[in-house]
């Protein structure tokens, strides 16, 4: 499985941080079905296991609240969402393995396709919310994510200020481009593999 285009940018770390909101609606992560979810998060994306255990207190697969992350394997086109601990009774209720899990048992995760089917390539959607987005966005953008062309173009369009002109280098399909010319890029309907390098200060 290959993306339709690649976009690589070198940006100051603070500017990369402004892309955290991209994760709110989710980004694509190419991977394989059947692998342990923790392998995807920790080995492929480089998230520390301690971070998953302690910081990520709210965890969804396909909109269902997860209690035991260790038992989950990646299913085809899964939507994985990670959040820090949330306020309110509803927040406490959605917390993984929390005392109030019984309050939402009809929407708790109870297994998925990843366990049964033969391994295959897939693109899962990774959503990051709140502090988790703020803390992991730069790292995962450095590893690389996939975003559909029209959505990425729209996202870049609504970023005000000089977020993109901060870019020291920009490469489209490995070819250097002027960072100011991003609007004229031939955005495909399909996936664009986006990668951001932090500019060394």
């Amino acid at each position: 499985m290959e993306p339709d285009a690649t976009l690589t940018m070198e940006l100051p770390p603070a500017t990369i941080g402004r892309f955290a909101a991209l994760f709110g609606q989710g980004v694509g992560i190419p991977t394989r079905t059947g692998i342990p979810l923790l392998a995807l998060l920790c080995d492929q994306l480089g998230i520390a296991r301690d971070y998953i255990d302690q910081r990520v207190q709210t965890f969804f697969i396909n909109g269902r609240a997860v209690d035991q992350v260790e038992q989950i394997r990646v299913g085809d086109r899964d939507v994985i969402a990670l959040s820090a601990a949330m306020p309110g009774l509803a927040g406490a209720t959605l917390r993984k393995g929390g005392m109030f899990a019984g309050f939402r048992q009809t929407i708790s995760y109870a297994g998925g396709s990843g366990q049964e089917k033969a391994p295959q390539q897939t693109v899962v959607t990774l959503k990051l919310f709140n502090l988790v987005a703020r803390e992991l966005a730069a790292q995962i953008l450095h590893t690389g994510v996939w975003v559909k062309g029209p959505r990425l173009a729209e996202y870049l369009q609504q970023l005000d200020g000089n977020a993109l002109t901060d870019s020291v280098t920009m490469k489209w399909n490995d070819q250097p481009r002027d960072p100011g010319s991003w609007e004229r890029l031939p955005w495909p309907e399909g996936w664009v593999a986006l990668r951001m390098e932090p500019l060394r200060e």
Binding site: G24, T58, A84, P87, L94, M99, A101, F103, Q105, N130
Partner: protein, 580 residues
Amino acid sequence: MDKILRINMSGANGPEIKTESLGAYAGLGGRAMTSTVVAQEVPPTCHALSAENKFVIAPGMLSGSAAAMSGRISVGCKSPLTGGIKEANSGGQPSQMLARLGYAAIILEGRPKDDSLYKVVINKDGVTINADNSLKMLGNYDTVQKLKTEFGDKIGCITIGPAGEMKLSAATVAFTDMEGLPTRHAGRGGVGAVLGAKGIKAIIIDDAGTRMREPKNPEKFKAANKAFVAGLRQHPVTGQGLPAYGTNVLTNVINEAGGYPTFNFKQGQFDGAAKISGEALAEMENTRGGDGSATHGCHRGCVIRCSGTFYDKNGRFVTKQPEYETVWAHGGNCGISDLDAIAEMDRLDDDFGLDTIEMGATIAVAMDAGLAQFGDAEAAIRLIKEIGQGTPLGRILGSGAAVTGKVFGVERVPVVKGQAMPAYDPRAVQGMGVTYATSTMGADHTAGYAVTANVLGVGGSVDALKPQGQVELSRNLQIATTAIDATGMCLFIAFAILDQPETFQALIDLINGFTGLSLTGDDVSDLGKKILSQERTFNAWAGLTAAHDRLPDYFKNEALAPHNVTFGVTDAELDEVFNF
């Protein structure tokens, strides 16, 4: 706090002011005070707007002291919206100010003989009450501005807007914040209509010349307060998540869970959620800047600071940072994904004195009735303005979702005991539905909010993963929440207490250090049970039965997308909630 201020508005020669000792009400604060006074002194069958109803204002037990987070104030009465007992609480400055002036409660009773509108002034020299018809039909913002011109910038104000004067069932009571603006509201149950029925437009509080309330055991109190604050600051919710994003941080998460009521509770996810999320709001506020834009406390002594200030794109103040419930009510529930429009509606609600949850739910019902299209923010704003103008349509809308549904023949009306549900669909989070159904207050997300059963040791340990655990947990949470409401503490302390036993102990030590008592967790839960029992008894005498402890049928019959779930807790299980 050693006295009660009682004002009889029915006096033969005008309002009569009396200052009393605490008597049987000694030791009570917040919800414990308001609910006890209402249960003891108000005939349950009276009309909520009649002279027989009473309006009670009570600072929390620790208000006016140096205790962190202790600035919540409770108001209580028989509710014109639910027909039962009501306690609604708020942040703002008046709680600390009234407590420093020594008042454990203000009880307003009777009804004026004419339609004059009164203002009450309370300071260290005493209390005065005078008619001031120049305040008639002013919004809360203009009212407070006028009062500050007359009494100075350092006053605290408790006011009603036009909705309260019109005695509408969605009317709130406003409390001024640290900037002296009427942004904090006791929102639920139509409490503003009861204050309006008493003919009181404003209570002006000037605490100049008073001192902070002193603890009985200063050393213990000081050490406990320090540990309590440290616990709040180190917890990821109270120390990081809430200060960074406010309560609206919940939008993305509840939406992801499929429990975000959308288009008048027709579906559990809203496509525009990310645009109105706490993350988007924080980004907008940080970009626009301005004083207190992103982090702000709702009362003096708050260390969580989960609020903020909303400025428009030109840098003009609009309102306080809209809370999660407000953003949902005027946003996703009405199909609106424009934060500027939502902030404008929040401002209108605050100015007219309207409950944002009730109004969002009402407008969504009105949209189902064809009065506007879902997603049409301009139409929603126009409907709220109808209320401020007092048009016939506005008076219907200002009477809440249940009345609006009846008038326009809409079946889908998400209320319990006449009060609109907040921002969590009970089909997805069913335990929340148990609390909505059985709370003494009508559908209320804060009624079963607080500390865990196991921490408080209420009713033994509960297996939350068993179906019956939802009923037991809801019961224990309602008991614990009721007790916290009596302290005047912000309910958000619950998160730190939930996870950190040492922070819970610090809270108990704080109460004991201040009062000189030796309360245990059991004592606190006994207080919660006692308050709930008297509230239940009042409601029973008012005519509320088990049939009122139910969700509307469509929650049992219509599956909620995306998880296609219905509310599955049986009536028999609901009837077990208060079996303690």
